[in-house]
Assembly symmetry: C2
Homo-oligomer: 335 residues x 2
C-alpha cells in the first residue's frame, strides 16, 4: 500500500488550516497530509449522507484535528470559522450530476451561493487567508479538442457543472477585485482509499469498485470513452502546492493524472483483474445519461506543473491496487 | 424620430407572448413591436425602483397588453404565468455591476436562481414554449482579441457577470437536456428611447444623457476604450428573429451594432453635439471601477446574422438623435 499522502511541502508547519468538506474523501486525505506537515487543522463538514463526509475517514487522525459539524450554507458559522485561519481548502460541494438535475436549487445553494458566502466571510473577517477551491473538469462539458487545457471554452452540460463554474468564478473575481488570494484546481476523476463507493455520486469508479468487491458485475456504459484519473495523494499534493504558490492566485488550473488516459472498457477490465473478483458487462448508454455525457476527456495540466512544480506520481495500476485493498479491508464502513 | 421598433417579423400574430422585465426599457419596446405584430402580450415586472421597470414605458400600449406585477424570484407566480404562452422573452435581470458587488446575494437570486425557477416552471407547465434569454457581453470579461466572437472564453470580472453567465447556461442546458427550446442573445450596450437615464445602473450612456440634458458635464472615465452600441429597435428585431428561428436553439449568440465601435471620448463629444447642450470632461478611471473594467469591447455577431438573417439598421448618430429627443421630451418621467 502507498504511504498515505506522501508529501514534503513544508510551509504548513504551525499554520492554521480550514478544510470545508473536511470529512470527505479528498478533504480527509488532505487533512492527514497537513497533520503530518505539522499544521493545525480544522475540518468543516455537514455529514449529509448523500455527500462524502464520514467520521470513519479521519479515524486515524481524529485526535489531531478539530472537527466542526456545520453546513457551508450556514453563513453565520462560516463567518466565525474562517477567522484565524491562514489557509482555506474549500472542498465542500454537491458532486452528483443526476442529483443536480433532480434538485437544481440545492445544488445551486451549495455550489454557488455558499461559495459566495464563504468568500464574503473571508473578505470581511480574514482577508489575508489563502484559498484553494476544488473545481471540476465538468465545467468544460464535451471537449472540442484533447487534451483539454485552460484555453478551452467552459460549456457545462448539467446544472452541477454550471453551479461549479459559478463557484469557481466567484473565487477568481474575489481574488482580482478584493485582493483575497484565491485559486481553483479543476479536478478530473479522483480515486483512492476513502473514496465514496456506496453509489456513483462522486464518480462511477466508486460504484464499480463496490460491485466487484461484492462479486457482482461492473456496468460499463459505452466503454470507448477515454478518461484520466488522479490518485488522491496526487490531488492532495496539487492542493498543497497550489496553496503555497503565489503563481496560482487568480487562476483556475487543470489537474490531470500520471498515466495516459484509458478507455472505460480497459479500466473496467483492470478493476476486475486487480480485485481478482467480479465481472464487467458493456451496456448501451442510458438515454437520460447520454444527454449529459461528455464523451472523451483528459486534461493538459502543464500550467499547474509550470506554476508550482507539481507533478503526479502514482500510476493507475498502483493506485487502483491501493484503493481496492483499502476498500476491501474497510468495506463495511463505506456501504 | 425613428418609427418605434420597425419590424415585420410575422409569425407572432395571434401568438401568446410573455415578457419578463416587460416594463423595462427593452421589454416595453419589444412589447410595442409585438402588439403591432398582433401578438397577445403579457408583461411581468416587479417595478423595483433600482431596476428598469416603469409604467410610463407602456403609456402608449397599456390598453393592448396585460400587465402582471410580480417578481421573477416568486416561483409560484412564475409557475402560473408561463402557462398558455408560446414565447417567453426572458429579460428580467439585475443589471448593475456595482450593485452586484455590494449585494451579491440579490444579484444571484435574480440573475441565477430565478432563471432556474423560470426554466423549471416552463419544463413542468409549458415545455413547448420558446424562450429567448437576454444575456450580456459582460460575461466575456476583458477581451483577449477583438472583435469578440462566441469562441471567446467567458471570464466575467464581477459577480453580475458570473450570475448572468450561470443564467445563460441554465437556458442552454435546459434546451439540451429537456428539449425546451431556448437560446440566449449576448447584448452589448443597448440605447434608445425609454432607456434608464436616472443613473448608470443599465449603462453609463444613460447617465451621460441625463447630465447633458440637465446642462451638466459628462464624466468620461479614461476615454480611449472602444465600445459598440445597439439601438433598441435593432435589439428588438434580434429578439424577435431569435424567437422565430430554430437555428438559434441551444445557442448563445452575440448582438452587435450598426456602426463600427467608437471610443468613449468620441461618443461623449457626439452626445454633447447632438444634444446641443452640456459639456464633457475626461477623468481618470476610479480605482474601484478599474478593477472590473474590461477595456475595449466590440462584438462579432456574424453567427446571429447567419442563423436568422438579422442585421442592425440604425446608426449611432441617428439612434442617439432619436434617444436624446425622446429623453428631452419625457425627462420628468425618467428622473
Amino acid at each position: 500500500m502507498i504511504e498515505r499522502g506522501a508529501g514534503g511541502h513544508g510551509g504548513y508547519a504551525g499554520r492554521r488550516v480550514l478544510i470545508t468538506g473536511g470529512l470527505g474523501f479528498i478533504g480527509s486525505t488532505l487533512a492527514a497530509a497537513l497533520v503530518r506537515e505539522g499544521a493545525l487543522v480544522t475540518l468543516v463538514d455537514s455529514l449529509i449522507p448523500e455527500y462524502g463526509g464520514l467520521l470513519a475517514n479521519i479515524a486515524d487522525i481524529e485526535d489531531q484535528v478539530k472537527v466542526n459539524i456545520s453546513d457551508v450554507r450556514d453563513e453565520q458559522s462560516m463567518l466565525y470559522l474562517v477567522q484565524g485561519h491562514d489557509y482555506l481548502f474549500n472542498l465542500a460541494g454537491q458532486t452528483s450530476h443526476m442529483d443536480s438535475m433532480e434538485d437544481p436549487y440545492t445544488d445551486l445553494e451549495i455550489n454557488s451561493r455558499a461559495q459566495l458566502s464563504i468568500l464574503e466571510a473571508c473578505r470581511k473577517r480574514r482577508p489575508d487567508i489563502k484559498i484553494v477551491f476544488a473545481s471540476t473538469r465538468q465545467i468544460y462539458g464535451r471537449p472540442d479538442y484533447l487534451p483539454v487545457d485552460e484555453r478551452h471554452l467552459v460549456r457545462p452540460v448539467d446544472v452541477n457543472g454550471i453551479n461549479k463554474m459559478a463557484g469557481e468564478s466567484y473565487h477568481i473575481v474575489y481574488n482580482n477585485v478584493y485582493g483575497l488570494r484565491a485559486c481553483a484546481l479543476r479536478l478530473t476523476n479522483t480515486y483512492g482509499p476513502r473514496m465514496r463507493i456506496k453509489d456513483a455520486r462522486q464518480t462511477f469508479l466508486g460504484i464499480w469498485i463496490r460491485r466487484v468487491l461484492e462479486d457482482g458485475a461492473i456496468e460499463v456504459w459505452g466503454g470507448e470513452q477515454l478518461r484520466d484519473f488522479t490518485y488522491v495523494d496526487d490531488v492532495v499534493s496539487a492542493l498543497l502546492a497550489a496553496g503555497l504558490s503565489t503563481a496560482t492566485e487568480g487562476r483556475a488550473l487543470n489537474v490531470g493524472g500520471f498515466d495516459p488516459p484509458v478507455s472505460l472498457a480497459v479500466l473496467a477490465d483492470l478493476v476486475v483483474s486487480i480485485a481478482g473478483q467480479g465481472t464487467c458487462v458493456v451496456k448501451e448508454f442510458p438515454a437520460d445519461r447520454q444527454r449529459i455525457d461528455i464523451g472523451d476527456y483528459f486534461a493538459d495540466d502543464n500550467e499547474l506543473r509550470a506554476a508550482t512544480g507539481w507533478s503526479p506520481s502514482v500510476g493507475l495500476r498502483q493506485g487502483l491496487a491501493a484503493t481496492i485493498a483499502y476498500c476491501r479491508e474497510n468495506l463495511e464502513e463505506y456501504l
